[in-house]
């Protein structure tokens, strides 16, 4: 449908603008994204959504991830784009795994705490150990407030 394509285009433009605005904030942490990197991240957002069978309305989660993770001591300029892309994909994957029982903010907070804490910047540890456990417990009624204490 034409209108669907138009809507996606509009969403992409909005996402690009959001990330451009993020640069102003993340500069003080020594992190910036080039136009090409922003474009790639936005494209990956739609791929990640599609791969995880999800649909997004309005603002995406990229901006929230950038704001949450830019202060991490384990995030460097040289792998900034790759890490944000991986975090984005991890985020959508675990939204599904938690049966949507975790809000965006709860999941991002947990991811950030674990990434900076136990995982010490390891995306593998974050995804394969802590988030798996969190989602398993969430499905059985666990409250995510425990954060890094898992």
């Amino acid at each position: 449908m034409t209108f669907a394509l138009e809507t996606i285009k509009l969403q992409q433009l909005a996402a690009i603008q959001e990330l451009q605005e993020c640069n102003q904030f993340t500069e003080k942490f020594g992190l910036t994204l080039t136009e090409a990197q922003i474009q790639r991240l936005v494209n990956e957002r739609f791929e990640a959504l599609q791969e995880n069978g999800r649909i997004e309305f309005g603002e995406g989660v990229l901006k929230k991830l950038v704001y949450a993770f830019c202060s991490s001591p384990y995030l460097y300029q040289f792998d900034y784009e790759d890490t944000i892309a991986a975090l984005q994909e991890t985020f959508y994957y675990f939204k599904n795994e938690s049966d949507d029982r975790l809000s965006d903010d709860e999941l991002i907070t947990f991811m950030k705490q674990t990434f900076d804490g136990k995982a010490q910047g390891s995306l593998e540890y974050l995804a394969e150990t802590s988030l798996e456990e969190l989602c398993r417990k969430t499905r059985y009624g666990y409250s995510p407030d425990g954060g890094d204490s898992l």
């Binding site: 034409t2 209108f3 809507t7 999800r54 649909i55 309305f57 603002e59 989660v61 949507d100």
Partner: protein, 301 residues
């Protein structure tokens, strides 16, 4: 659940909508899905599973279509309306239908036949659960309960949500009312012959009773029993074996009407239902007549 029947208005050719109108409609629907998804997640999540978004979309389509059918306003005119307002008004229509369904449900429970069937009981219990679980805000097209008990005339699969339940209850009430016309002893005998463990079998109770009652009407018998003896089957065989299917349909319609009148089934809808049930028997009856064996049609004991 095949919900394609809920989207005829997204097809421009079906409603004389221009391509431009259809695009405008689709944009409005998209905005409404976005609005509903925000309400559904209560702002906690920017994304949804595609299946959930599809269900939200289907619910919107169900509600808008209900409104359009009820008001008869053409889609071209509705396009200029505020869709959020339309959704609100559609929900009011659904609420009225829920009240109507609850009243029917109470009447159906009071009119249960004096014979037992586990599936009928379970289905009625489940319809009670439907009223607790039915979500008119997000999933108005869904039927959140299990309906096992089969009716003699199945409810069309093009009905969804409360529309389906209303129709189901109306038909069940007709069937119950009919079954109440006969002594429970007779019903028990007939159904025991039809299927020995009828109490725990997934069968419709109305149809075999209606067929035997109709057989009696054809024999011009006025006694209230449902039994059709083997001699009576021979009589029926002789009377109908040379008739064509169209002739049988004509006789079936007339005699079903007479039967409804004899049983004091007062409403036309009850007569129509009986006629339709008998009419759908004709192909089977024709085969049985050709085989000179009416044992599978009329029950004897």
């Amino acid at each position: 659940m095949n919900t394609s029947a809920l989207f005829p208005f997204t097809d421009p050719s079906a409603n004389d909508l221009s391509l431009q109108d259809t695009e405008q409609l689709q944009i409005k629907l998209w905005q409404l899905v976005s609005y509903q998804s925000k309400r559904y997640t209560m702002g906690d999540s920017s994304s949804l599973r595609i299946e959930t978004a599809e269900e939200l979309f289907t619910s919107i389509c169900f509600l808008l279509q209900l409104y359009q059918i009820e008001t008869h306003i053409p889609w071209q005119k509705l396009l200029d309306s505020n869709f959020k307002e339309l959704l609100k008004e559609s929900r009011s229509l659904v609420k009225a239908r829920i009240a109507q369904a609850k009243s029917l449900y109470a009447r159906t429970q009071q009119s249960l036949p004096k014979i037992k069937n586990d599936f009928l009981e379970d289905t009625l219990t489940n319809i009670g659960i439907f009223f607790q679980k039915y979500d008119i805000y997000f999933f108005a097209h869904q039927i959140p309960c299990i309906i096992d008990y089969p009716l003699a005339c199945p409810v069309p699969e093009t009905l969804y949500g409360i529309e389906y339940i209303l129709q189901y209850l109306q038909q069940l009430l007709i069937e119950n009312h009919f079954l109440q016309c006969f002594p429970s002893m007779d019903l028990n005998c007939l159904l025991s012959v039809y299927i020995p463990d009828y109490e725990s079998s997934l069968i419709n109770l109305y149809e075999p009773v209606a067929i035997n009652a109709w057989g009696h009407q054809l024999l011009v018998q006025t006694n209230n029993t449902l039994n059709i003896s083997h001699q009576e089957k021979v009589l029926l065989q002789q009377r109908f074996q040379h008739l064509s299917s169209p002739e049988l349909h004509v006789i079936a319609a007339a005699s079903a009407k007479k039967l409804a009148s004899e049983l004091s089934l007062s409403t036309p809808i009850e007569t129509d239902y009986l006629q339709h049930t008998i009419d759908s028997l004709i192909p089977r009856l024709k085969v049985a007549l050709n085989a000179q064996n009416l044992n599978g049609i009329f029950m004897s004991w």
